[in-house]
Symmetry: C2
Subunit: 326 residues, 2 copies
Amino acid sequence: MTTCDGPYGPGAEFELIRRLTDLSGALPPEVRIGPGDDAAVLEGGWVVSTDLSVEDVHFRRAWITDREVGYRAATAALSDMAAMGATPVGLLVSIAAPRGGAVDIEAVQAGVCQAADAVGAAVIGGDVSRSPGPLMIDVVALGRTAWPVRRDGAEPGDHVWVTGSLGASAAAVAAWNAGEEPSEALRSAFVRPIARVQEARCLVEQEVVDAMIDVSDGLVGDVGHIAAASGMKVTLELSKIPVADAAIGRLGKNDALQAALTGGEDYELCFVTDPDIVDRAHFLDVYGVIVTRVGSVSEGEGVWLQAEDGTVTRAVAGGFDHWGDA
Amino acid sequence: MTTCDGPYGPGAEFELIRRLTDLSGALPPEVRIGPGDDAAVLEGGWVVSTDLSVEDVHFRRAWITDREVGYRAATAALSDMAAMGATPVGLLVSIAAPRGGAVDIEAVQAGVCQAADAVGAAVIGGDVSRSPGPLMIDVVALGRTAWPVRRDGAEPGDHVWVTGSLGASAAAVAAWNAGEEPSEALRSAFVRPIARVQEARCLVEQEVVDAMIDVSDGLVGDVGHIAAASGMKVTLELSKIPVADAAIGRLGKNDALQAALTGGEDYELCFVTDPDIVDRAHFLDVYGVIVTRVGSVSEGEGVWLQAEDGTVTRAVAGGFDHWGDA
């Protein structure tokens, strides 16, 4: 089992990212927050993040339309803005596409623009290239906030929350991998995720959030980043995890819980607050989104799972391998 | 022959970029300059641009090391900062790399960091993914300037200049494509280009530049962007083009001139000024870089080539196909 003392939780990808980050030198003074959070923060309150989507790694073109590829890639980047409490302003989009018209680049871009429009942002630049292999899209999001929310503010006694429900996106992939078409609810979770920009802004304006991240790699992995960055232990109560009904319908209760914990790509928010401070009814009224308390913060390290019978075990990220050998 | 009235010169790639740009909606007020220049400009003087490098499109791994791949990709992005007269601050680097250790991702990142260090910038974020196909790197550059230099300021009577010499990078590719190893001078031009950040800052501080661009797609294509954005005609004097000696040595005089005009990836600056205002000796003394007046601006449209015998013909971008069918 890996332990670490940097801003990243355990896992091979994060080890690589940490090594890559270590290669860079000192940060210029105009950079307020460097690598290690959902986004970098620059002088003037600008927030910037990048998110790479690769065919046959993050999606398959047999599953979703070119427009959905663009929408989804952009939403992943916009979700990082939400996780910082930032208002998205602009996107830069780099697309490498196979030659010969197999991919409709304008449809990809239209999907990106749709996701940008939905949060009041615009596409302000980009690059295009032929690809001799898969379709790849790299989306850079730029946003603004006066109060960036980091991962490192969790304190003992804090509560851990998530918006919406988890596991449906991973369950859609499981259906496709089984050669079946997912239900509309599952498919929608994969192709039309929503970046929780408004909800995050609301939380920031209420000044109740000590730490926040978006659930892109799976709740256990993402909470692990908060735990590592804050130097704290997070205990998740398994009975409280808001597993998506459609995921339970597809996978059964146990596998759906696993998908919720480690599947990722739900793009919900996971945030940490002082105890008993979140107005759940307000969230439901204004945004139509449930928020659920899923755990708590204490002295220690790592992410721990508390079962209904009270037993507690340390969680390992990345257990739900919904991509198989893809 | 294509004519156009937007900020881009003629050419299929630019037509596509124009169509993609048209898909985006109105720009948020925090965006000072949107798509269509070397970079977007944001409130607070932040400048941002992205540059995509794809294996077997922009480079071959048989030709250059992984570290050189990273250095070169980063320099292409930093060169866009130079073209805006901006001081680079940070890079975000997305890398999609084949599984199995064929690519040393840390070496790629080390090359990126080397290019960043050389201009006082740092890597402030990024993303990594497996690629089921080629190595791809998308580098986002962020910089700052109080006076962004655009492409649209060329006026009748202005002079057109370039820094350094042109054509060596394309000549290196021609050598590799012929199955030969390029000379060290040619190879160096391809793998160790220099972003002309200091030179651009000097020009901006002297307040002599009406328009600027970096020579990434070839002088004719890039000057064509200035001509189109400014609504002007640019005439290049063929006898004045600073063709790299090493390119002439490899390709002969005529093909080397073609490489200089349309080969691209030289990452020199092309800039437009009032007549007789550039201090060539200062440039050579301080930066060790020659600057050469290569043409002039007049009422009209397009890029025109004036031969030594005085005949003038309209130029067509992209004539030097140094990539063959790659």
